[in-house]
């Protein structure tokens, strides 16, 4: 029994010790950091790996024969392989490093926009791109812009009252005109985990490509891009223990090789003449200029850290914390969850509203208690509009949070209610 326990849990205190900021006090209170869906902190191991690389092996990559250049290139390419393994991708050439998730969506959108008429990526009037009403702005605005540029039509899958995708009209929303279905794996505002299999099956029926926004799934659960069956998968480093400044577009090799380039510049070219240029194969084709070298090295170290703890254990830990939070909120009068209020198919981000208290005031009052939560539209303004709220308060836990911290939050909510209810 205790062996079983040991195999499914980990030493959260030991993990916490790796994150210096968790020792901070905010206004005399211990920091309770529950803003992980916005960005996570970085363990010493990741920072040390990046620094060791920069201090002893740094150089530009890909273009040199000297020793440091070889070492830096090796480290950078090994990071690509590490990320491919993290995603269970069959081929490291399918991993493109970007600066964040947002660049990855724009890369695909502009590449599609740049495609010659008649190509499988080209879009025009009559073609459609489908998203969902719960997309992060980063997986929505690029498609709006693409449709504006090309004359294609943007459609979206609406939401049910309890924060799930309303699939009633899926067949008409994803149809023979649909070129791409781009949707979020786990919502950053509602916490909802979407049924990838159902959506991918429908997309395949009509020959649409699929792009899965994994910004909120890759940090929190094992991801196998082959098993998911999608064509593109996107993640962002800063939400999964890596520094800001690095993201990943994974795409099936056949697609990446066929897509026209996005940004032009050094490293993405083959032959450059003043009169015109030809382009390198993927992934180089999509990494114009000096890449995010040390950030990629740090991301690989973050993969090591996460796999070291075990993503299945992390998922189980967060599941327990989320359950405790949902149970606690359910017991509080005047507090309601926006999004699924059960544990089924949901991630660790929990949005809620406190009757009569504006989220800004909730966030600020919790901050005075040392509790860091996010307030606002969480870059998903259409979701707020859908549920008739100007903004939400969101608590999101990660591998280093504890049950005690959830309890501090729950007490904090009561304190806020008392203060503002006077």
């Amino acid at each position: 029994m205790s062996t079983l326990l040991a195999a499914t849990t980990y030493d959260v205190a030991a993990v916490r010790a790796d994150f210096p900021v968790l020792g901070r006090e905010i206004g005399g209170k211990p920091l309770v950091y529950l803003d992980n869906a916005s960005s996570a902190h970085k363990p010493r191991q990741v920072l040390d790996a990046e620094r060791a690389f920069v201090e002893q092996h740094y150089s530009n990559v890909h273009r040199g024969v000297h020793t440091l250049s070889q070492e830096a290139t090796d480290a950078y390419e090994a990071s690509r392989e590490r990320v491919a393994r993290f995603l269970h991708a069959p081929d490291a050439h399918e991993v493109v490093f970007t600066k964040n998730a947002t660049e990855a969506y724009n890369l695909v959108a502009y590449s599609f926009g740049n495609a010659a008429a008649g190509s499988r990526f080209a879009l025009g009037p009559g073609d459609e791109v489908c998203v969902t009403e719960m997309e992060h702005h980063s997986n929505l605005v690029p498609w709006q812009m693409l449709c504006e540029r090309t004359g294609a039509t943007l459609r979206w899958i609406p939401l049910t009252d309890d924060g799930r995708l309303d699939l009633a009209d899926l067949e008409s929303l994803v149809n023979e005109r649909t070129k791409l279905l781009a949707f979020v794996h786990v919502s950053n505002i509602l916490g909802t985990e979407n049924p990838v299999d159902v959506l991918v099956a429908r997309a395949r029926q009509v020959g649409a490509l699929t792009l899965l926004d994994g910004a909120q799934s890759a940090p929190h659960q094992p991801v196998d891009v082959t098993a998911l069956g999608v064509d593109f998968f996107v993640l962002t480093g800063h939400k999964m223990l890596a520094p800001s400044g690095v993201g990943v577009l994974w795409g099936r090799r056949e697609l990446l090789d066929a897509m026209p380039p996005f940004m032009g510049g050094g490293s993405m070219i083959e032959v450059v003449r003043m009169t015109g240029s030809t382009y390198a194969p993927a992934p180089e084709r999509f990494e114009a200029g000096t890449p995010v070298i040390s950030q990629a090295v740090a991301l690989a170290a973050a993969c090591d850290y996460l796999d070291g703890v075990g993503l299945d254990r992390i998922a189980a830990h967060e599941h327990a914390l989320t359950g405790r939070l949902l149970d606690g909120v359910r017991d509080l009068p005047g507090v309601s969850v926006i999004g699924p209020d059960t544990l089924e198919k949901r991630g660790a981000a929990v949005s809620f509203a406190i009757d009569g208290v504006h989220p800004h005031d909730v966030g600020q009052s919790l901050d005075e208690l040392g509790i860091a939560v996010r307030v606002g539209h969480h870059c998903a303004a259409p979701v707020c509009r859908r549920y008739g709220v100007p903004a939400t308060t969101r608590a999101s836990s990660y591998l280093y949070n504890t049950e005690a911290e959830i309890d501090v939050l729950l007490e904090g909510i009561v304190t806020v209610q008392r203060f503002w209810g006077r």
Binding site: H358, G376, A381, C384, P390
Partner: protein, 146 residues
Amino acid sequence: MYQEIILDHYKNPHHKGLREPYDVEVHHVNPTCGDEVTLRVKVVDGVVEDVSYDGQGCSISQASTSVMTDLVIGKAVDEAMSTGEAFLELMQSRGQLEPDEDVLEDGIAFAGVSRYPARVKCALLGWMAWKDATAQAVATTGEGSA
């Protein structure tokens, strides 16, 4: 940050509710948090005769709008505008400015807010709406002293 003055104005806002007559009505939104205000201005002989408003938002945006109405109603447009400038300056000071109570009255309670850039926009929502509406009123009616 949550001074009593702010909480008082939040609970009991002054001059709230839309009134007739007015020269100009504007609608301002803070896109980052969805706070919004609808605001009307009446200018007579270069003087801010009335400001009325309705809106929803956090304590800071609501209280600041309430304080604003106290500060501008009955003042010459010029003078009210420079009070607005003083408030703007305070909000951009990142906690480095000692506010002048003679000029800003209850507005000095917002000095602490200036240390929170994310909230500065809240505190300015009503002021920006008023400035916009008043400038329009002056332009369209030929009112104001300039």
